[in-house]
């Protein structure tokens, strides 16, 4: 299908390349729509796990223990997969940018405005999301709230787009749909080759990055911001002890204080003397990487119970670090009472290294990494 498109200036611009048509847009668009839907759902889920509102905090489930690892891994995987899909989709509809006259009616103006929002939000979300995983922040605003706000704008604009384009989508859904049959039949093999190329690109970007969260693909991890094998004690680190301002002196006279109806303090040796449990739980970062590790320590619920916390209590955890957005962490009831939730002293059979939270850190199932508080100084029945 040719697009003889008149631009304001003569002579007319013609897109000679074929396949800028509704069948290509539909075939790529449905995969892009699926990727955006998965990315949106997992992103909203992550948002509530990372910043739970009060009414939700005590209801967040601590199982399955791998839940957050799975959904956040999927968030980043679907976002990266959407990059080639979005580029291909925009390529397919690019000639429409030069539609003439630019605005035919109020309806047409509104439709174009919604597409402009959709394109802007789509490109912006994938761009900021990808750069965030590399901890690169060239923009003058804070990432999390803006990425979150725009995800609603994006998914809303996508729904409007689907509603507007529904007749066209339906008439190009399959190779034998009426709209597809109205296109030149000779384009069929060419289009299938193009779609195969896009599918290969999605496969390539997925395989070379998913290894940061999918253990089986670890060896193919070529472009991800993390290598799960790189880090002290075989585990990557986000915030080092030095960056958090936790010094050797601060740790030397360390005591764990547990507040509640019957407050008490414990030295590290006293903690080691309490019943120890070993659990295998992942560190699952909001940035997408994750890795399982073997943790040994004391059950948080045992510590809370000793301080007089009943079976329905949550916890408030404070870190030694003097500042930082996650210095104080609230832990809902489900997490605090889960037998897998530990105040861990050991990692993969060794004492915690300073960067992994020595002398003691929290490890809980189904939780974002930023809430796995390191260098724990105080535990409070909440």
């Amino acid at each position: 299908m040719r697009f003889p498109l008149r631009l304001p200036a003569d002579p007319p611009v013609t897109f000679k390349a074929r396949l800028h048509d509704a069948r290509t847009a539909t075939a790529v668009g449905r995969w892009l729509g699926l990727a955006f839907a998965v990315c949106f759902a997992t992103g909203v889920l992550s948002h509530f796990f990372q910043h739970p509102p009060d009414w939700l905090a005590d209801r967040l489930p601590s199982r399955p223990y791998w839940g957050y690892r799975f959904t956040q891994g999927l968030h980043v995987i679907s976002g990266i997969a959407a990059i080639p899909l979005l580029l291909a989709k925009l390529w397919a509809v690019y000639p429409r940018l030069f539609a003439w006259p630019p605005l035919r009616s109020v309806r047409h103006a509104l439709e174009r405005a919604s597409v402009a929002v959709l394109v802007a939000a789509g490109v912006f979300e994938l761009f900021t999301g990808l750069l965030n995983t590399f901890q690169w922040y060239p923009w003058p605003f804070s990432f999390v709230p803006v990425h979150f706000a725009l995800s609603w704008l994006l998914i809303g604009a996508l729904m409007v787009h689907l509603a507007v384009k529904w007749p066209e989508i339906r008439s190009h859904w399959t190779r034998r749909s009426p709209g597809t049959l109205a296109l030149p039949a000779s384009d069929g093999p060419d289009r299938r080759a193009l779609l195969a190329g896009v599918a290969a690109a999605v496969g390539a970007v997925t395989l070379t990055t998913a290894g940061q969260s999918v253990t089986a693909l670890g060896r193919l991890d070529l472009f991800a911001p993390r290598d799960p094998a790189v880090g002290p004690q075989g585990l990557p680190v986000n915030r080092t002890a030095k960056a958090a301002g936790v010094t050797a002196t601060a740790v030397r006279d360390w005591r764990l204080s547990v507040a509640g109806p019957r407050p008490y303090t414990l030295t590290l040796d006293e903690l080691r003397a309490l019943p120890q449990y070993e659990v295998t739980l992942p560190i699952a970062c909001v940035e997408g990487w994750s890795k399982n590790a073997r943790w040994t320590g004391v059950r948080v619920r045992d510590l809370l119970e000793r301080a007089g916390g009943g079976p329905g209590t949550g916890a408030r955890v404070e870190s030694l670090e003097p500042a930082g957005a996650y210095r104080v962490m609230e832990m809902g009831r489900e997490y605090a009472q889960d037998p897998l939730t530990l105040l861990a002293l050991r990692l993969n059979g060794e004492e915690l290294s300073p960067d992994h939270g020595h002398p003691a850190r929290i490890i809980a199932p189904n939780r974002p990494g930023v809430l796995q508080t390191k260098w724990v100084a105080r535990l409070e029945v909440a």
Binding site: I83, W91, V119, W139, L153, D190, V205, L222, D227
Partner: protein, 134 residues
């Protein structure tokens, strides 16, 4: 028809929610500028670049189709995701952040894509030749 209006209505409501969240940010106009920038960079730079590549190869009598085009799509996509670690300025928070040799990996994947495309096209041509001879 009713479904379409319902979906569009819900979409508009969600857009409204997103907009409301956005204007609560400290500098919504700056964000709007970045949003507009995203469109300008794609529509004014990335897309024309792709079309220019196609036009250039066309000028040399090569029509970008089939395997070479697929190879360029794969190579371009891999390059797009390799750009952040390659261009990222400044140091990292610690050695476990952005720890790979991304330049080496990028060169490796480019070579792998070229090799795979060559092998695929070569095998297909050979098969077609064999079929023609029989």
């Amino acid at each position: 028809m009713a479904y379409r209006y319902a979906v569009a209505g819900l979409g508009l409501a969600l857009m409204g929610l997103g907009g409301a969240l956005l204007v609560q940010q400290p500098s919504p106009w700056r964000i709007a500028l970045w949003l507009a920038g995203a469109v300008v960079v794609h529509d004014g730079l990335v897309a024309p670049l792709v079309i220019a590549v196609a036009a250039l190869t066309g000028a040399f009598g090569l029509r970008l189709r089939g395997v070479p085009r697929a190879a360029l799509i794969v190579a371009g996509s891999l390059t797009a995701i390799a750009l952040p670690p390659l261009l990222r300025p400044g140091g990292t928070a610690n050695p476990t952040v952005v720890p790979l040799d991304y330049l080496r990996n990028w060169l490796l994947t480019m070579a792998a894509v070229a090799l795979a495309a060559g092998l695929y096209a070569g095998t297909r041509a050979a098969l077609r030749g064999a079929r023609r001879r029989t």
